[in-house]
């Protein structure tokens, strides 16, 4: 970890000094234990505050569409960014959707060994008393007033990291390897399968329970790199598609449509889940579309830059088993 951090700092410093990039998006130390915070670095000196550890969970690709729509000189502006596997997949999708071009960004890829879910660890210690955190290759040591506690990374991984198949970035200009092996998931995700085993009524009940906690802060949308619409359907007023209340029906409306908008684009980075302050398991629903797109169209978002998005193309031979054929 320390070596990777050092490499990031020196490389970013060099890039900024040589004016190869104008700004670099990375992570800095958070103000709370087990947290990191995205940061924007524009000078060699500032590059020293960049860090790398197992809590660098935010998907930084989320900032790029906004930055690109704001910069005056699109040709000459170049943004550097640090990418885990999932972030790079998001970037590939953004490039496909023409939100940015490949030459506008300089990607420092980092082979990821899985991110640790800080909420999961905090729920096991008294979060008020944490003093410090240390990290080794497989373990997280949390120092608190009560003493030290060691957590295995493997057991406290973020949910999507457990079954991540592309931990090494799919695009990059420079790849930094950490001391650990990049994560190679051997098991496939069973979230969808398990949920489908339940009877239909129970599924709807679970949906109501999960989404019933929603406070409509829109953090899931704003943390998602795919949600860059200048005007979100949730905020359209002519017409207003659904109410702004916390009635279950409005909440479910919002989430179903937002999630469906990710069909064929969702890279399963889990940014929405991590951003949710109410800890709603949104991935239970987003993951279904990831699996279905893979199965039906053989498409994996963010993996092959030249491949067309499944809903932006078609084949005359697509299955239509779901359509009704009256006898």
């Amino acid at each position: 970890m320390k070596r990777a951090e050092h490499e990031i700092r020196s490389n970013v410093g060099k890039l900024l000094k040589q004016k190869k990039i104008d700004v670099f998006i990375g992570y800095e130390k958070g103000t709370l234990p087990l947290r990191t915070s995205p940061c924007f670095v524009s000078s060699e000196k500032e590059a020293r505050k960049l860090i790398w550890n197992s809590f660098c969970t935010n998907n930084l690709a989320v900032y790029l569409p906004h930055i690109m729509s704001r910069v005056k000189n699109k040709r000459s502006t170049r943004v550097g960014i640090i990418c885990k596997g999932c972030d790079s997949r998001s970037l590939v999708e953004l490039i496909k959707e023409k939100q940015l071009t490949r030459d506008q960004i300089y990607i420092i890829g980092i082979s990821c060994s899985g991110m640790v879910d800080y909420k999961r660890i905090l729920s096991q210690v008294n979060s008020d008393e944490v003093i410090g955190v240390d990290e080794t290759a497989d373990e997280i040591t949390v120092r608190s007033k009560e003493g030290e506690r060691v957590f295995s990374k493997e057991e406290n991984l973020c949910e999507p990291c457990r079954t991540c198949k592309h931990a090494v970035p799919t695009v990059y200009d420079m790849l930094i390897r950490t001391a650990q092996q990049p994560r190679q998931a051997t098991t496939s995700d069973s979230t969808v399968h398990d949920f489908l085993m339940k009877p239909r009524e129970e599924r709807w009940q679970i949906l109501e329970q999960e989404l019933g906690q929603c406070i409509r802060c829109y953090a899931c949308r704003n943390a998602c790199p795919n949600c860059y619409c200048k005007e979100c359907f949730a905020e359209q007023t002519k017409p207003r598609w659904f109410g702004v209340t916390t009635d279950l029906t409005d909440i479910i409306f919002y989430h179903t449509i937002r999630i469906f908008h990710q069909a064929g684009r969702c890279v399963d980075c889990g940014a929405c889940v991590r951003a949710c302050p109410m800890n709603i398991n949104l991935r239970l629903f987003t993951r279904m579309l990831v699996d279905e797109v893979k199965e039906r169209f053989g498409y994996e978002p963010g993996v092959a830059p030249e491949e067309l998005q499944p809903l932006a193309t078609y084949s005359a031979k697509d299955k239509q088993d779901f359509m009704i054929e009256p006898e």
Partner: protein
């Protein structure tokens, strides 16, 4: 009935169940209760449901008086008349509230009740509710109440103040409302002695020391008079523009009113709104005077630390730290205050 004592009364912890049982006869009680992900306010029927050794609840209690979704009035084409929705009002007790949240409620009172016209929906709920505050003995690392004029024993907004002293509670009625609660309870107490007060002061002092005063807030407020300050752009860079900070804030009180039509009936609803949303300031023409996150974030900070001081004479931040805990990109309002205060 608990007699009035100059220094307050002492209730042994073992009598807490009696106290709650006695209170439930007169009031609906809401208090902190343990849930899967931290504490939140819930209806309390027995003292076992209470979790009084908590840091602070996840959501602030502002929703009791100002619910996120509230029906104001409705009509049905069948009877061709609009009807006002009346909030269900029963004598209610918020038990074990933290001082910062009680202070925040006193600020909300200023917003909704200090000027004519008063907000009738808020008023009805507020008037039926009394607040029993529990002083903090062990503030969280995210607390910064002392910096913004609150404190672990701040009494403003509370009807009764409670202090936990080892295995006893020191209780003090601060308002006529608090006296009224005392007349309604039937539990054995003893008058507090000056020894108890010394013990209490000691605990409060300790708590105060745990909450670090990290910055000169006046210097920060002075800087805010510069609306065009150069710092906003940088501070807003990492903000995602979600509404977590405003929805979790105990003093944020902006709302939106919309009309909903459902077939032949309809209603007017009030919902929370957030200055972090683009729709908050969007004009009908399509122009948005606060087009970006920078402008919206500036509004949030300015409203709390500048405009509110001007309108109500108070800083609309009580230092509860909820926005710090829940921000998905770890934007820390303390850091913002420091960064601006130290900007030359």
């Amino acid at each position: 009935m608990v007699k009035r004592e100059r220094l307050g009364v002492i209730l042994s912890e073992s009598r807490l169940p009696e106290l709650i049982a006695s209170l439930t006869e007169t009031y609906r009680i809401f208090g902190p209760s343990k849930k899967d992900d931290g504490e939140s306010f819930a209806a309390i029927h027995k003292s076992e449901e209470l979790a009084l050794d908590y840091g602070n609840t996840k959501m602030s209690p502002k929703g009791f008086f100002f619910p996120q979704t509230e029906s104001l009035m409705w009509y049905d084409s069948a009877d061709k008349k609009a009807k006002q929705d009346k909030p269900e009002v029963q004598p209610t007790l918020l038990f074990g509230l933290r001082p910062c949240d009680a202070l925040a409620i006193s600020y909300l009172d200023k917003v909704f009740l200090s000027n004519e016209p008063q907000d009738p929906y808020y008023r009805q709920r507020r008037e039926a509710t009394k607040i029993v505050c529990l002083a903090c003995n062990s503030p969280s690392p995210t607390c910064f109440c002392t910096t913004v004029g609150c404190g672990p024993d701040s009494e403003k907004g509370a009807d009764i103040m409670m202090y936990k002293l080892n295995d006893r509670y020191l209780m003090k009625a601060l308002t006529p409302g608090g006296e009224e609660i005392f007349t309604n309870i039937d539990v054995e107490t003893e008058p507090a002695t000056s020894q108890d007060i010394v013990e209490k002061d000691d605990l409060v002092n300790k708590a105060c020391q745990m909450v670090k005063r990290f910055v000169d807030i006046d210097e920060f407020k002075e800087k805010l008079n510069n609306f065009q300050g150069p710092w906003w752009e940088k501070l807003a860079q990492k903000c995602l523009g979600c509404g977590i900070c405003t929805y979790f804030c105990p003093t944020c009180h902006c709302f939106d009113v919309t009309d909903e039509v459902v077939k032949q009936s309809g209603r007017r609803v009030r919902t929370w709104d957030s200055c972090m949303y683009p729709l908050f300031t969007l004009h009908a023409s399509g122009h948005n005077p606060r087009p970006g996150i920078k402008e919206r974030m500036r509004q949030r900070i300015m409203h709390k630390f500048n405009y509110a001081v001007e309108y109500y004479g108070e800083t609309f931040c009580v230092g509860c730290g909820r926005c710090i805990i829940h921000c998905p990109v770890n934007i820390d309002i303390r850091q913002i205050i420091m960064d601006i205060a130290e900007e030359r």
